[in-house]
Amino acid sequence: MNFGMEIVWWLVPAALAMGAGFLIAFIWSARNGQYEDLETPAVRILFEEESKNKKEQIDAAGRTL
């Protein structure tokens, strides 16, 4: 197993395989409509509709709000 540069025979296909994997992921995501709307998702992450399961809310000075 003493490769010289022949290791490249292994490295390159491995990297290509990974590239192919990502290509398939791209095709899936395009087909799935992930790229129909490329503006609204950026905005959606900004909503903070969550409510907290709080027993108490404390401010910076340690006082209960």
Binding site: V8, L16, A30, T40, V43, F47
Partner: protein, 716 residues
């Protein structure tokens, strides 16, 4: 931007106006929502599925389009949902179901994107494989990289490049020459030659060039298709004519004064006054009785309280839309310039292919086959008639789009071609340079009731500006004097409009009454004579005047400064004609011309006139712009229809024609120069196929972007 603190309780209020929506059958609904200004609104609207879980299964908002996609649960009432949206402060509109065409277009778009992704991935990796090959790797590793690039090139050519195969095959079947032919030739030659080279070990590979070419071409075409789509004559025009529609066939609604109709319909109850100007050119409202039809694009002027209209056609099926469809079809016709450009492109390609073969033979004969292939490949790849064959249609469609925004509907692109050559402009007088609203300035005061009654009976049957003016004057008199010439109109046995001359009517007993232009008009007014009998006894001599449109004079002056010859052509008398000419500064006057004579005069120039009344002249002129008269008729006779009254759009049209011509010329020069230089560099060996593969799409894209930049409203 704070979180929208709206109260998201379920709405119990249910606006009546959305009740109709409950008829909507489909589970998937698309709404256009007005009033979405902030990103918080998006969050709120997407919470519909949480706020009204029994009705809304899913709610997705599309910010760029401002549309809301809903998936409804069974039994959902769209009206309640609409009510909630309205309560939140937005205005929902129901959008018609996505047409199959839209869905197909979306599918195609996605497929194209995938193709580009695959082509890019393959091209990128092949190029990386090529780096070792260029950098001197040898031995078994060399073969390894060569084999890999071959392996990757196969899907690049036969999968990503399949559209080239399709285009060439389709053109072949139709016995024409596709512009993709040289490209496909280059790709195939490059591919097979490189394959052979791998097996023979001669190391002349072009896989990187051909895959880069495929990727770049696919990308630039995709980008250009998008540009072109946004350039097309689309909703823009419909917007101009009608409000956004939200009705379905069978809906009944109460029309209100001022309402612009978005659908065709029939009046079921009550009475309405409708402005049909876009159809008839008639700006005087017409009273409709039950059973009468109204159209999208018309406007309600008045409505009785009990009026109800039932929708008969919406969207694509309205009369307006169908008319515009015909315009669209006409626009697709290629103008002379486009045909010329196509021909030029095809001869270029034939020339290139010939040169390519000849060069190849030459190089092979001289023993430099490999070098010959390299140069010929570069030649085939770099030459492109893009600036002409592909940019020319873009120039036209862009120009048309800009013109529409300026109020000019160009039916036939040939008008733009010819417009650039125009030297002389002929103007109709009445309605074009003037308001077209003649008003009576004298001659009726002395008339008796009977004469007025007869006169009234004639003029109500005619739409001519003269007739209308007299009619209006008589009505005014009737109101003042309580003489009743407007009641009991005479029923004529025969009634004729004599184009260019006047009206003629026969009544019971054979007596003829005529209302004609006076032949001995000594005044500067328009004069008509009401005559009776075969002897043409003069009953009344009515004087009318038409006011000049305020901007007419200035526009004429500007046109003259720009070295256009201006002339007035009218069927009217010399004196009123000359009067208008003086006021506007027009030098040439052709008065008292019959329609046939008019047509003859305007043959070589640009005619600007009334679509209805100047139909003959407009159709015969080299270029014609119809200023009034309803789109229906105008489009038949003229090449261009001005949506704005008066002549203010004329300079716009002319300068756009010139801009189009300039741009086309620039493109032509660029294309010629580019191809000559490219061909020279390729054949003399200074251009590698890879460089060509990068340059050509870049050049094509540059031409397009440049064209679009040139064709902007401010440049016109």
């Amino acid at each position: 931007m704070q979180s929208v603190q709206k109260d998201s309780k379920v709405s119990t209020h249910c606006s009546g106006k959305y009740l109709d929506w409950d008829k909507y059958r489909s589970k998937d609904v698309k709404l256009y929502v007005e009033g979405v200004h902030c990103t918080g609104c998006v969050g709120l609207l997407e919470r519909l599925s949480i706020v009204q879980p029994a009705e809304v299964e899913q709610s997705t908002f599309n910010l760029p389009q401002s549309t809301l996609r809903l998936r409804l649960r069974p039994g959902a009432a769209l009206s309640r949902i609409a009510g909630q949206i309205e309560e939140w402060g937005y205005v929902p509109h129901l959008i018609e179901e996505e047409s199959d065409a839209d869905r197909q277009a979306a599918r195609e778009n996605r497929a194209r994107l995938i193709d580009i992704g695959v082509a890019g991935a393959l091209a990128g990796n092949i190029m990386l494989m090529s780096i070792p090959l260029y950098s001197g790797v040898d031995g078994s590793l060399r073969t390894f990289f060569e084999a890999l690039s071959l392996g990757l090139a196969v899907p690049a050519v036969f999968y990503s490049g399949r559209s080239f195969f399709k285009n060439v095959a389709a053109a072949w079947v139709n016995s024409t020459f596709s512009i993709d032919a040289p490209i496909l030739l280059a790709i195939l030659v490059a591919f097979f030659y490189s394959c052979v080279s791998v097996f023979r070990g001669t190391h002349e590979l072009y896989f990187d060039s051909l895959s880069a070419l495929i990727f770049l071409l696919l990308s630039s075409r995709y980008y250009l298709a998008r540009l072109r789509r946004s350039s097309k004559l689309s909703l823009g025009v419909l917007d101009y004519f009608q409000a956004k529609g939200d009705r379905v066939v069978g809906d009944r609604y109460q029309p209100e004064s001022g309402m612009k109709l978005s659908s065709d319909g029939v009046l079921r109850f009550g009475q309405i006054a409708v402005d049909f100007s876009h159809f008839s050119g008639e700006s005087v409202p017409v009273w409709i009785k039950p059973g009468g039809e109204v159209y999208a694009g018309t406007q309600i002027i008045e409505a009785s309280g009990d009026a109800v209209i039932e929708v008969t056609a919406v969207g694509d099926r309205t009369r307006m839309a169908q008319m515009l469809e015909k315009v669209r079809e006409a626009q697709e016709r290629r103008s002379d310039t486009q045909i010329q450009a196509d021909r030029w492109a095809k001869s270029l390609l034939r020339a290139v292919t010939t040169v390519a073969f000849a060069s190849l033979v030459y190089f092979a004969w001289r023993g430099h086959t490999a070098e010959g292939i390299r140069r010929v490949l570069a030649l085939l790849i770099v030459t492109c008639p893009c600036a002409l064959a592909l940019a020319t249609p873009l120039v036209f469609s862009r120009a048309l789009q800009i013109l529409i925004r300026q109020g000019l509907l160009v039916k036939d692109p040939i008008a733009l071609d010819r417009g650039a050559n125009v030297r002389k402009i002929f103007f109709d007088k009445t309605g074009t340079l003037t308001w077209g609203k003649l008003s009576v300035v004298g001659g009726l005061e002395s008339a008796d009731s009977e004469t007025l009654r007869l006169l009234y009976s004639m003029v109500t049957r005619s739409r001519h500006p003269v007739s209308r003016a007299i009619e209006a004057a008589i009505v005014r008199i009737a109101e003042k004097d309580d003489r009743s010439p407007v009641r009991n109109p005479e029923s004529w046995t025969e009634f004729r409009e004599m184009p260019g001359l006047g009206l003629s009517a026969f009544r019971d007993g054979g007596e003829e009454f005529r209302l004609v232009r006076s032949e001995d008009n000594q005044t500067t007014f328009s004069e008509v004579v009401f005559q009776k009998g075969a002897v043409r006894e003069e009953l009344l001599r009515v004087r009318l005047q038409d006011q000049l449109r305020p901007k007419s004079a200035k526009i004429i002056r500007d046109l003259q400064i720009n070295r256009y010859g201006t002339a007035l052509v009218t069927g009217d008398h010399a004196w009123p004609a000359r009067e208008v000419a003086n006021q506007t500064g027009i030098n040439f006057v052709y008065s008292q011309k019959t329609p046939e004579e008019k047509a003859e005069i305007v043959e070589r120039g640009l005619m600007v006139g009334d679509g209805l009344n100047d139909a003959l002249a407009l159709s015969k002129a080299r270029v014609s712009i119809a200023v009034q008269g309803g789109i229906d008729a105008a489009i038949q006779s003229a090449q261009v229809y001005s949506l704005k009254p008066g002549i203010e759009t004329v300079p716009v049209f002319l300068s756009m024609s010139k801009l189009v011509r300039r741009t086309l010329k620039q493109n032509f020069i660029y294309s010629t120069a580019y191809n000559l230089i490219g061909a020279t560099l390729s054949l003399s060996g200074f251009m590698s196929p890879l460089l060509a593969a990068v340059l050509m799409p870049m050049s094509a894209t540059t031409v397009f972007v440049w064209t679009l930049a040139r064709l902007r409203e401010k440049n016109a």
